[in-house]
């Protein structure tokens, strides 16, 4: 038996690509959730109400200090026990999105803190309302600086999607495992799965590094 069987490798590529689509879908939806929820968490941390900002802080700390896998189990198995049954993809996206939201929240916060105090003061001197100051003045200056860091989290989320396998999402790794079990050959499926991850995350990190350099130049 050959160590590497080209025919077998070619035959499993379609199912791996199916898995890739699922992985990309989970990453895209998870990122979207992480971006929106993270921004909300960051804004809550700036709330003048002590209870609100403390609650947001507590939530961020708890989620960041527990493993993603545990959180996935909570979304999928624990909620089901309490009568809330989520599909594995839904639970996976919620798990990824909420987990990474606590990281993006810190990115937003750092970006917001980097906006000079004079900008806030000018907005105040011009009597701009609070909401307008955020939307029109602070965020447009903060967000470009955040993009590279947010991009890095998208890449790391992408690489963590195989964890969704444990709650039944058939991503790249799930497909590879299935194909391997069927033929009882694991070298080709797992190698190809690794290559697919590499082929996407490596160029992405290079792109992000370039973006970072461009942002820093401004």
């Amino acid at each position: 038996m050959n160590v590497w069987d080209w025919n077998f490798a070619a035959s499993i590529i379609p199912s791996l690509l199916d898995g890739l689509l699922v992985t990309l879908e989970a990453t895209a939806l998870g990122s979207l959730l992480a971006f929106v929820l993270g921004l909300m968490l960051a804004l809550l941390r700036y709330s003048p109400l002590f209870v609100v900002s403390k609650a947001a802080w507590g939530f961020i700390e708890v989620v960041r200090s527990t493993p993603l896998l545990v959180q996935l189990y909570i979304w999928f198995f624990l909620l089901a026990q309490w009568g809330i049954t989520l599909g594995s993809m839904t639970a996976g996206v919620l798990g990824l999105g909420v987990h990474y939201a606590t990281y993006t929240a810190e990115v937003y916060r750092a970006g917001i803190d980097a906006v000079p105090r004079g900008q806030w003061e000018a907005a105040r001197a011009l009597n701009l309302p609070r909401g307008r100051t955020w939307v029109g003045i602070v965020l447009p200056q903060a967000i470009p600086r955040m993009i590279p860091a947010l991009g890095n989290y998208v890449v790391s989320m992408f690489k963590e999607t195989p964890l969704l396998l444990t709650i039944g999402v058939l991503d790249i790794l799930g497909q590879a495992r299935g194909a391997g079990a069927e033929a009882y050959r694991f070298i080709e499926p797992y190698t190809l799965a690794g290559i697919l991850f590499l082929a996407l995350s490596y160029p992405s990190s290079i792109l992000i590094r370039r973006l970072e350099r461009r942002v820093l130049q401004h």
Partner: protein, 276 residues
């Protein structure tokens, strides 16, 4: 130049300096940062339309006065009145309570400020910098607000720069945009916080020229913190010399600069004039 005929509504009403009610009044104002007392029982009155220069060593509380008027800093004790109304307090059910955001917003419509570091919005064009607040705060339609902004740009000598970003302008040009931005809100009181301190020497004159026009052609009340004594002499009706949170000498510029009475005023002026 600022009392335009093309836009008669731009002309700020010439105020009557003789009116009884001062435009700005500080009533035994206290302010400390930590252990450091910045203002100590300060009393101060500025008449409507009056131009007052605040001079003195750094750390003497001049900038804090402007920042409290712009509601950027809250006094620890005492009362500030602007145009007859308390700034940091309001009446509720017959008692005086700390001002809420609504009251502060109401009071802020009377006050404008120009900062040492310009603080223009870097992601907006020059035109948008000036038109943003009139659109968002005063509810002026965009087309009208932009037309007014262009007119103001013309007045500060930057007619061709409407579509530039602040970063494409010199410091002097940026500061002139910042002045136009503040005037666009038509405040009764304008605060200038060392507006030429961050500028290269050769750019100071153009900003001073704009301020001089503003002072002579409008009835705006102006408070200027400055280290430029010639400019203060030029523009101010009255000069206030600060030291350690108190006004130690006050009078018309001709007298303060030629016959200062207080010893510390004398040594301060000597030091400043030697430096320039």
């Amino acid at each position: 130049m600022f009392s335009s005929t093309r836009h008669p509504q731009e002309a700020v009403q010439t105020a009557d300096i003789e009116t009884e009610q001062p435009m700005v009044r500080f009533n035994s104002i206290m302010k400390a940062f930590g252990d450091q007392v910045v203002l100590n029982e300060l009393d101060l009155e500025v008449g409507s339309g009056e131009k007052v220069a605040l001079i003195g060593p750094s750390g003497s509380g001049k900038t804090t006065i402007l920042r409290m008027l712009m509601t950027l800093e809250r006094p620890d004790a005492g009362t500030i009145y602007v145009d007859g109304d308390p700034l940091w307090h309001m009446e509720r059910n017959g008692t005086t309570v700390p001002a809420d955001e609504r009251h502060l917003r109401q009071m802020r419509t009377k006050i404008g400020m120009v900062f040492q570091q310009f603080n223009l919005f870097p992601h907006m064009t020059v035109l948008r910098n000036i038109a943003e607040a009139p659109i968002r705060v005063l509810g002026i339609p965009r087309a009208e607000a932009e037309e007014r902004a262009r007119h103001l740009l013309d007045q500060v000598g930057l007619a061709g720069k409407a579509d530039y970003r602040p970063s494409q302008l010199s410091g002097g040009q940026q500061q002139r945009v910042a002045i136009a931005r503040a005037i666009a809100m038509r405040p009764k009181v304008m605060l200038f916080d060392e507006v030429t301190s961050a500028l290269d020497p050769e750019l100071v004159a153009e900003v001073h020229a704009v301020l001089r026009d503003l002072a002579t052609e409008t009835g705006m009340t102006m408070l200027l913190v400055t280290h430029e004594m010639n400019f203060a002499r030029d523009i101010a009706d009255r000069v206030l010399m600060f030291d350690q949170g108190r006004i130690i000498e006050s009078g018309p510029p001709e007298r303060i600069f030629t016959h200062p009475e207080n010893d510390r005023t004398k040594s301060f002026l000597r030091a400043v004039l030697e430096a320039t």
